[in-house]
Symmetry: C2
Subunit: 107 residues, 2 copies
Protein backbone atom coordinates (compact mmCIF):
# COMPACT_ATOMS: atom_id res chain seq x y z
CA UNK A 1 0.00 0.00 0.00
CA UNK A 2 1.38 3.40 -0.86
CA UNK A 3 1.76 6.19 1.65
CA UNK A 4 0.56 9.64 0.64
CA UNK A 5 1.62 13.12 1.69
CA UNK A 6 -1.02 15.63 0.65
CA UNK A 7 -0.85 19.43 0.98
CA UNK A 8 -3.66 21.88 0.34
CA UNK A 9 -2.44 25.45 0.22
CA UNK A 10 -3.23 29.05 -0.49
CA UNK A 11 -0.23 31.12 -1.50
CA UNK A 12 0.50 34.61 -0.26
CA UNK A 13 -0.12 37.43 -2.70
CA UNK A 14 2.82 38.09 -4.97
CA UNK A 15 4.21 34.56 -4.80
CA UNK A 16 5.23 33.21 -8.21
CA UNK A 17 3.47 29.87 -7.99
CA UNK A 18 5.05 28.50 -11.16
CA UNK A 19 8.50 28.88 -9.60
CA UNK A 20 7.41 26.98 -6.49
CA UNK A 21 5.94 24.17 -8.59
CA UNK A 22 9.13 24.01 -10.64
CA UNK A 23 11.22 23.69 -7.46
CA UNK A 24 8.90 21.02 -6.11
CA UNK A 25 9.12 19.09 -9.37
CA UNK A 26 12.94 19.30 -9.21
CA UNK A 27 12.91 18.11 -5.59
CA UNK A 28 10.66 15.18 -6.47
CA UNK A 29 12.94 14.22 -9.36
CA UNK A 30 16.03 14.34 -7.13
CA UNK A 31 14.75 12.38 -4.16
CA UNK A 32 14.37 8.66 -4.90
CA UNK A 33 12.06 8.03 -1.97
CA UNK A 34 9.45 10.24 -3.67
CA UNK A 35 7.76 7.68 -5.93
CA UNK A 36 5.17 10.02 -7.40
CA UNK A 37 4.45 13.72 -7.47
CA UNK A 38 1.38 15.41 -8.86
CA UNK A 39 -0.43 18.67 -8.33
CA UNK A 40 -3.53 20.57 -9.30
CA UNK A 41 -5.19 23.96 -9.13
CA UNK A 42 -8.85 24.12 -8.22
CA UNK A 43 -10.87 25.28 -11.21
CA UNK A 44 -14.40 25.41 -9.85
CA UNK A 45 -13.60 28.23 -7.40
CA UNK A 46 -16.49 27.54 -5.08
CA UNK A 47 -15.24 29.35 -2.01
CA UNK A 48 -17.77 27.59 0.24
CA UNK A 49 -16.15 24.29 -0.76
CA UNK A 50 -12.49 25.23 -1.17
CA UNK A 51 -12.36 27.39 1.99
CA UNK A 52 -9.92 29.56 0.07
CA UNK A 53 -7.43 26.80 -0.73
CA UNK A 54 -6.26 26.96 -4.33
CA UNK A 55 -3.62 24.26 -4.90
CA UNK A 56 -3.16 20.60 -4.06
CA UNK A 57 0.21 18.85 -3.96
CA UNK A 58 0.37 15.08 -3.71
CA UNK A 59 3.44 12.93 -3.13
CA UNK A 60 3.58 9.17 -2.75
CA UNK A 61 6.05 7.02 -0.86
CA UNK A 62 6.49 3.30 -0.40
CA UNK A 63 5.86 3.62 3.33
CA UNK A 64 5.73 6.02 6.27
CA UNK A 65 9.49 5.44 6.56
CA UNK A 66 9.94 6.76 3.01
CA UNK A 67 8.08 9.92 3.95
CA UNK A 68 10.15 10.30 7.13
CA UNK A 69 13.37 9.89 5.13
CA UNK A 70 12.17 12.57 2.71
CA UNK A 71 11.19 14.98 5.50
CA UNK A 72 14.58 14.49 7.11
CA UNK A 73 16.54 15.03 3.90
CA UNK A 74 18.51 18.28 3.71
CA UNK A 75 17.12 19.05 0.24
CA UNK A 76 13.60 18.83 1.64
CA UNK A 77 14.46 21.01 4.63
CA UNK A 78 15.94 23.68 2.38
CA UNK A 79 12.86 23.67 0.17
CA UNK A 80 10.35 23.47 3.04
CA UNK A 81 11.54 26.75 4.53
CA UNK A 82 10.91 28.60 1.25
CA UNK A 83 7.66 26.75 0.67
CA UNK A 84 6.12 27.40 4.08
CA UNK A 85 7.11 31.09 3.89
CA UNK A 86 5.13 31.38 0.65
CA UNK A 87 1.89 30.07 2.17
CA UNK A 88 -1.06 31.91 3.53
CA UNK A 89 -2.74 28.72 4.74
CA UNK A 90 -1.98 25.05 4.56
CA UNK A 91 -3.38 21.65 5.52
CA UNK A 92 -1.16 18.57 5.42
CA UNK A 93 -2.46 15.01 5.58
CA UNK A 94 -0.31 11.86 5.75
CA UNK A 95 -1.95 8.51 5.23
CA UNK A 96 -1.75 5.01 3.82
CA UNK A 97 -3.87 5.23 0.69
CA UNK A 98 -6.68 2.71 0.32
CA UNK A 99 -7.70 2.04 -3.28
CA UNK A 100 -11.41 1.21 -3.19
CA UNK A 101 -12.06 1.39 -6.95
CA UNK A 102 -8.92 0.96 -9.03
CA UNK A 103 -8.43 2.90 -12.23
CA UNK A 104 -9.19 0.90 -15.36
CA UNK A 105 -6.14 -0.61 -17.02
CA UNK A 106 -4.76 1.58 -19.80
CA UNK A 107 -2.78 0.58 -22.84
Amino acid sequence: MEFKHLCLVRFKEGVVVDDIIQELTKLAAELDMIKFFGWGKDVLNQEALTQGFTHVFSMCFDSAEGLAACMGHEKHSAFAATFMAALDKVVVMDFPFVVAKPAPATA
Copy 2:
Protein backbone atom coordinates in the same frame (compact mmCIF):
# COMPACT_ATOMS: atom_id res chain seq x y z
CA MET B 1 -5.40 14.35 -18.17
CA GLU B 2 -7.58 13.10 -15.35
CA PHE B 3 -9.87 15.34 -13.33
CA LYS B 4 -9.83 14.95 -9.57
CA HIS B 5 -12.44 15.58 -6.91
CA LEU B 6 -10.80 15.68 -3.49
CA CYS B 7 -12.52 16.00 -0.11
CA LEU B 8 -10.84 16.55 3.23
CA VAL B 9 -13.22 16.04 6.12
CA ARG B 10 -13.67 15.78 9.84
CA PHE B 11 -16.68 13.72 10.87
CA LYS B 12 -19.08 14.66 13.63
CA GLU B 13 -18.79 12.72 16.85
CA GLY B 14 -20.78 9.50 16.81
CA VAL B 15 -20.64 9.02 13.05
CA VAL B 16 -19.80 5.46 12.01
CA VAL B 17 -17.09 6.28 9.51
CA ASP B 18 -16.80 2.71 8.23
CA ASP B 19 -20.45 2.84 7.11
CA ILE B 20 -19.87 6.08 5.22
CA ILE B 21 -16.80 4.65 3.49
CA GLN B 22 -18.76 1.52 2.57
CA GLU B 23 -21.52 3.64 1.03
CA LEU B 24 -18.98 5.73 -0.86
CA THR B 25 -17.29 2.60 -2.17
CA LYS B 26 -20.66 1.28 -3.33
CA LEU B 27 -21.46 4.59 -5.03
CA ALA B 28 -18.09 4.59 -6.80
CA ALA B 29 -18.68 1.03 -7.99
CA GLU B 30 -22.14 1.89 -9.32
CA LEU B 31 -21.31 5.09 -11.19
CA ASP B 32 -19.31 4.47 -14.34
CA MET B 33 -18.11 8.05 -14.62
CA ILE B 34 -16.15 7.55 -11.39
CA LYS B 35 -12.93 6.07 -12.78
CA PHE B 36 -11.10 5.76 -9.50
CA PHE B 37 -11.89 6.04 -5.80
CA GLY B 38 -9.42 5.98 -2.95
CA TRP B 39 -9.33 7.24 0.59
CA GLY B 40 -7.08 7.58 3.60
CA LYS B 41 -7.03 8.45 7.26
CA ASP B 42 -4.28 10.70 8.53
CA VAL B 43 -1.95 8.76 10.81
CA LEU B 44 0.53 11.38 11.95
CA ASN B 45 -2.09 13.39 13.85
CA GLN B 46 -0.18 16.65 13.84
CA GLU B 47 -3.01 19.03 14.56
CA ALA B 48 -0.96 22.04 13.42
CA LEU B 49 -0.73 20.42 9.97
CA THR B 50 -4.07 18.63 9.66
CA GLN B 51 -6.12 21.53 11.08
CA GLY B 52 -8.38 18.87 12.56
CA PHE B 53 -9.14 17.11 9.27
CA THR B 54 -8.95 13.35 9.62
CA HIS B 55 -9.95 11.75 6.30
CA VAL B 56 -9.23 12.27 2.62
CA PHE B 57 -11.47 11.02 -0.19
CA SER B 58 -10.24 11.11 -3.76
CA MET B 59 -12.25 10.42 -6.91
CA CYS B 60 -11.06 10.63 -10.49
CA PHE B 61 -12.97 11.39 -13.65
CA ASP B 62 -12.06 11.56 -17.31
CA SER B 63 -12.96 15.24 -17.40
CA ALA B 64 -14.80 18.06 -15.63
CA GLU B 65 -17.88 16.87 -17.55
CA GLY B 66 -17.55 13.45 -15.89
CA LEU B 67 -17.51 15.11 -12.49
CA ALA B 68 -20.53 17.24 -13.39
CA ALA B 69 -22.43 14.15 -14.56
CA CYS B 70 -21.61 12.44 -11.26
CA MET B 71 -22.68 15.45 -9.16
CA GLY B 72 -25.92 15.61 -11.10
CA HIS B 73 -26.70 11.90 -10.73
CA GLU B 74 -29.55 11.03 -8.37
CA LYS B 75 -27.46 8.39 -6.61
CA HIS B 76 -24.86 11.03 -5.82
CA SER B 77 -27.48 13.50 -4.60
CA ALA B 78 -29.00 10.90 -2.29
CA PHE B 79 -25.60 10.06 -0.85
CA ALA B 80 -24.36 13.65 -0.63
CA ALA B 81 -27.17 14.66 1.73
CA THR B 82 -26.20 11.91 4.21
CA PHE B 83 -22.50 12.59 3.74
CA MET B 84 -22.63 16.34 4.29
CA ALA B 85 -24.83 15.87 7.38
CA ALA B 86 -22.12 13.64 8.88
CA LEU B 87 -19.38 16.26 8.56
CA ASP B 88 -18.04 18.71 11.05
CA LYS B 89 -15.81 20.40 8.48
CA VAL B 90 -14.97 19.85 4.86
CA VAL B 91 -12.80 21.21 2.06
CA VAL B 92 -13.46 20.19 -1.54
CA MET B 93 -11.03 20.77 -4.40
CA ASP B 94 -11.71 20.03 -8.07
CA PHE B 95 -8.83 20.11 -10.49
CA PRO B 96 -7.18 18.66 -13.56
CA PHE B 97 -4.35 16.59 -12.09
CA VAL B 98 -0.85 17.29 -13.38
CA VAL B 99 1.53 14.35 -13.03
CA ALA B 100 4.99 15.85 -12.51
CA LYS B 101 6.79 12.64 -11.50
CA PRO B 102 4.99 9.51 -12.65
CA ALA B 103 4.93 6.39 -10.49
CA PRO B 104 7.46 3.76 -11.57
CA ALA B 105 6.02 1.00 -13.73
CA THR B 106 4.93 -2.03 -11.74
CA ALA B 107 4.60 -5.62 -12.83
